[in-house]
Amino acid sequence: MSLQTENAVVYVVDDDPALCRSLRFLLEAEDWPVRLFGSAEAFLDEIGSRAGPGQPCCLLLDIRMPAMSGLELQQVLRERGFEAPILFMTGHADVSMAVQAMKCGACDFIEKPFDDQAIIDAVAKAIERCASMLDEAQRRDGARAALAHLSPREQEVAHLVARGLPNKLIAAELGISEKTVHIHRQHVMEKAGISSAAELARLFLRADPEALD
């Protein structure tokens, strides 16, 4: 996959400044720009009201922090819909904490002190995953935009075409003539820039994986 990971950013949130700096030293050598935050609150201030990362990224969160813990930050981000892969750092991995974190969508759990290769691999994987998520979102947004240009009747016809129904049945379903169905169908193909019913079905699924259920 040729995903755009070059401009990926690593966010580190830890209350230990020395540890933060060492992570930047380690990760910047792998050509990842690293941004450091001393607390969860500082990170939330930074992302402000953005709904998600504009570029591929990865969050390295310390679980134990004085005010807001790493898990609490994960919760807040989830509620805000800010989707970015999260790697948790912990001194002593305790199982219940790990399960909770993973349930909430954490990518990985890294135990301090780190194995350099392990953290680099984990960060790389997370960034890749983030890039793919971003790509996915981009294509979904494209599909949705294409479908959004159709008139309500055209959308109805397009939905039924995507489900593979012939014009005759569609006309019967919608209570219109077969010829009218044909005209809508041509408009849909023109507007969405596609040529076959199969392509239309893919477009629907890209915009909403459950659209054809």
């Binding site: 230990d16 020395a18 540890l19 700096r21 060492s22 992570l23 030293f25 380690l26 050598a29 792998e30 134990r64 004085p66 001194g91 002593h92 301090k112 002190p113 780190f114 194995d115 350099d116």
Partner: protein, 619 residues
């Protein structure tokens, strides 16, 4: 004579006084003597002075009158010399002879014998009194009592009675009677109740007996008879005790009452300085002295009996015998010696017993001290073990936090090191990166070392010490220690209400351990509660000369049941607690003379308090 010193002083003083008075009168009397006598130097040359020293036993005036016939006669009979009387008491006569101020000496037999030895006096005649039976039986003593004292018949009856006498060294006035009493088994010194030495004149002794101040008195024989003849007393008022005349035919003819043997009468003696010729002249003159002069002299008597008396009494020239005869001492002082021996024996026994007791007590004391030291050492080592255990248990409870503390610098160091290796492998290692990484690695290693040191200091065993401890500073450092160990330490509020200069004498680290334990408990009590209820307050105040430390939490508190078991070993409300913290804290506080207790806090939580005695700073 020292033995008599105490009693003689009064008599001596009286004698000296008289002597001084007569010094004034003498020149007049002497002048009278010269004028009255016809003895002027026949050859016209200046007559040679011859001084006759006379013992004045009845006072100088009486002596001068008594002896006046002697000088008058000698001056008449021996031309070319002027005989002159000079009167002395016993001491001054002795001194005059020593200084050769006298040429002839007239004195009583006792003093004569004493000075015969000392100065080489040589008698040339003995007074021949009318009553004398022979030259060596001329005088004695009479022990007089009042006639009505029928209880006093013999010398033996004087035991425990009061005796009046002239002086301790008086011959007829004391010593003769002493010898006689000794022969009867009475030691005058110890067996009589008291002896009054009244000095001269002898009439004082008579008066003392008459007034009843003494039961008996010692006077020269014939003194009573002569005094009665002069009409100064009534003879029937007195009786002579133990009259020898009825018992001894040899003295039956003696005309006066006599309680003692008879001794030679007074001698006249020449000193060494006088020439043989003059001695002979005087002797011849004296023997030829007619009876009508009122004084007669006879051939010199044998004074052996006087010597015997002195030897027996160990006085006068034989006084030295008194000092050296152990048997005599024993005989005289056996009751005192017996008492002394008893006292010494008792003292010896007592000393030995005390020594024995002291040794036994010392041994017991040493043993009990050793036992107590052993016990204390056991308690101390036990306590140290407990403390050590408690420190370890606190460490254990804090280990999670400690692991995190240590992990942070280790992780940081690892990151730098790994990254350096990766950069090196990629050939992208810059000098700046090496410098940055190594500086960070160094400081992080120091940080880890500091944490380790803190743990070691805390866990190390220590022996008990008592030093002035500044509690506010201790509380502050404890707070910092906890905040360093616990990542999410809640607020710890210190309220210092101590007056300035208030200190306690304590083992700082031990008290800190107590504080740490209590604060740790308080923090645990507030866990999982809203932040405003997690805060822990440490309050310092004084009450009744004691420093109080309160550790207050706002947790859920403990039930009365739980509170009653709080200080029991192995009682715990925590899943991972050992239940040793509070018992050890209590032990530590009590070892400091303080108290540790717990009570419910209002409105919520617990209040743990301990007290320590205040130390008043030495300044």
């Amino acid at each position: 004579m020292g033995l008599f010193g105490r009693r003689v002083s009064a008599g001596r003083r009286g004698l000296a006084l008289l002597h001084r008075a007569m010094r004034f009168c003498l020149p007049i009397l002497s002048a009278f003597g010269l004028l009255s006598g016809p003895a002027q130097a026949e050859n016209g040359s200046r007559p040679q002075d011859v001084t006759i020293g006379v013992l004045a036993y009845q006072g100088e005036l009486a002596a001068a009158l008594d002896w006046a016939p002697l000088t008058r006669f000698l001056n008449e009979r021996i031309p070319g010399y002027r005989f002159d009387l000079e009167h002395f008491d016993a001491d001054s006569l002795h001194e005059a002879i020593r200084q050769q101020r006298v040429d002839l000496v007239v004195t009583n037999p006792g003093y004569y014998v004493a000075m015969e030895n000392e100065f080489g006096l040589s008698r040339i005649a003995t007074l021949d009194s009318p009553q004398a039976l022979s030259p060596d039986k001329g005088t004695g003593s009479a022990l007089i009592v009042r006639s009505e004292r029928s209880d006093l018949q013999t010398l033996g009856d004087l035991r425990g009675k009061r005796l009046a006498a002239m002086a301790p060294d008086a011959f007829g006035g004391y010593l003769l009677v002493v010898r006689e009493m000794l022969a009867q088994g009475i030691d005058a010194e110890s067996h009589l109740k008291e002896i009054h030495f009244l000095g001269v004149p002898m009439m004082r002794i008579v008066a003392a007996v008459q007034r009843g101040e003494a039961d008996a008195g010692v006077v020269r024989s014939c003194f009573i008879e002569q005094a009665a003849a002069r009409g100064v007393l009534r003879q029937e008022d007195f009786r002579v005790l133990g009259d020898r005349r009825s018992a001894d035919p040899a003295v039956a003819a003696f005309p006066c009452g006599l309680s003692t043997a008879l001794y030679p009468d007074w001698p006249i003696a020449v000193t060494r300085g006088i020439g043989h010729g003059l001695s002979k002249q005087v002797a011849q003159a004296l023997l030829a002295m007619p009876a009508d002069t009122g004084m007669a002299w006879t051939v010199p008597a044998d004074y052996q009996s006087v010597h015997e008396l002195y030897r027996e009494l160990r006085t006068g020239p034989y006084a030295h015998l008194r000092d050296v005869t152990l048997a005599g001492l024993l005989r005289r002082f056996w009751p005192a010696l017996l008492v002394l021996a008893l006292v010494l024996t008792a003292w010896g026994v007592h000393t030995v017993r005390v020594e024995h007791l002291v040794q036994r007590r010392t041994a017991e004391l040493r043993a009990s001290l050793r036992a107590r030291e052993d016990a204390e050492a056991r308690v101390r080592s036990h306590q140290e073990q407990m403390e050590h255990l408690s420190r370890l248990s606190i460490l254990g409870e804090l280990s999670g936090s400690l692991a995190h503390e240590i992990n942070q610098p280790l992780t940081t160091i690892g990151n730098y090191a790994r990254s350096l290796l990766r950069r090196h492998a990629d050939g992208r290692l810059s000098d700046a990166a090496v410098v940055e990484a190594c500086a960070e690695i160094g400081s992080e290693a120091e940080r880890a070392g500091g944490i380790m040191r803190r743990i070691r200091d805390f866990a190390r065993k220590r022996s008990a010490v008592r030093e002035p401890v500044d509690m506010p500073a201790l509380v502050d450092s404890t707070r910092k220690l906890i905040e360093g160990m616990l990542l999410h330490a809640p607020a710890i509020i210190c309220e210092n209400e101590l007056p300035p200069g208030c200190e306690v004498l304590a083992d700082g680290p031990q008290i800190q351990q107590v504080l740490l334990n209590l604060v740790k408990n308080a923090i645990d009590a507030g866990r999982d509660l809203p932040p405003e209820r997690q805060a822990v307050t440490i309050r310092l105040e004084t009450a009744d000369k004691r420093l109080l430390v309160h550790v207050i939490d706002q947790g859920c508190g403990l039930t009365a049941e739980q509170q009653s078991h709080l200080f029991e070993p192995f009682f715990t409300t925590k899943p991972d607690g050992l239940g040793l913290g509070l018992p050890i804290c209590k032990t530590i506080v009590e070892a400091h003379g303080g108290r540790l207790w717990a009570e419910s806090n209002v409105p919520s939580g617990m209040r743990f308090s301990f007290s320590l005695p205040c130390h008043v700073a030495a300044n």
